[in-house]
Symmetry: C2
Subunit: 165 residues, 2 copies
DNA sequence: TCCATGAATTGGACATTGTCCAATTCATGA
DNA sequence: TCATGAATTGGACAATGTCCAATTCATGGA
């Protein structure tokens, strides 16, 4: 049988509050959502939630491994609920779009660095940088676009995620 | 024959200003340096440099591919002059230390994502997360430390870099 | 060597993202 | 239902970076 969200929270030693449940749903509602958008989505659901409440909830959930935080250069942190599947990200240098991509190497072997310098590695975070199909189609070019320029173009598009493997 | 820094700048269409040269040296002076530390190092060298001047120089250099920007979660952006060698990073979840690590796969094949979704990929950015030898030796543990906690422990240690391959 | 010109820098206001803290409210087990 | 510690709130604050208009500078050509 599958756990309710509230039960999941309690199993991780967290109280099941309306704020946390709303944050959890907000993160599930959209791939790679920002804290700001989480706040907006959650506010619609439960009427009001403080900025600090959003950050506290996100941090608590990240710490328990219930959600994952990624932080593309030039973008605020983004959160997703695809977790423990060792997937990576494609980021468009031009429009900032972020899409999921499965690990090239397999389930987890990309965890193996050539020389781990004595580190105990538990996660390999991979971001592939390049140009998305749309930007290519429109002939838009940009070498190593700086964060400011990316931001001026507006928030990165949210791109539909393929069904997780 | 090898180019002087000033010549290198001009070859990339940039005027050779005192600020840019100082920023270039600052980035070379320390692996994974922050903009703030760049400003401090450069100020010592040339007397004074504006905050905007530092950011303008860093962005111009990144755009030309003369330096690289990385941004570990929970840390301000960091800059390095090891460029075009497809190297990756080990980051300690506990103390935030960042060290270089050569690509596990070879010179560039980690550029090949399993499914590129039509992206033209030009860079694969890999961060290995884990626990550094010191933190392990001291028995310090931390599961998915949040950025705030990492910041409270002070700036990440700077760790000596092995000679680039 | 000097000048004209566009490139680069400066200072200061401002934006964004996130944290700190003390007071209050809430969820949970007894 | 209550006591208790966990969680939330609001508001100040911190860190990182950008915008903009005025000024200064680097460079190629006279
Ligand atoms: Mn993802
Ligand atoms: Mn490096
Ligand atoms: Zn694009
Ligand atoms: Zn460490």
């Amino acid at each position: 049988m599958t756990l309710t969200p509230a039960e999941t929270l309690r199993r991780h030693g967290l109280q099941a509050t309306a704020q946390r449940l709303a944050v959890l749903r907000a993160v599930a509602s959209q791939p790679h959502i920002t804290a700001d958008d989480v706040a907006a989505v959650a506010a619609v659901e439960i009427g009001t939630i403080s900025r600090q409440g959003v950050y506290d909830a996100l941090n608590a959930l990240v710490q328990r491994g219930l959600i994952r935080r990624i932080q593309p250069v030039g973008s605020p942190a983004r959160y997703e609920d695809r977790v423990n599947d060792n997937h990576h990200h494609l980021v468009c240098r031009i429009c900032g779009a972020v899409v999921d991509v499965d690990c090239a190497v397999g389930s987890a072997p990309c965890l193996t660095a050539k020389d781990d310098r004595g580190y105990e590695i538990d996660e390999a975070e991979v971001a592939y940088w390049g140009r998305c199909p749309e930007c290519a189609a429109q002939g838009r070019t940009s070498s190593r676009l700086d964060p400011a320029a990316r931001r001026r173009r507006g928030a990165p598009r949210v791109v539909a995620t393929p069904t997780p493997s």
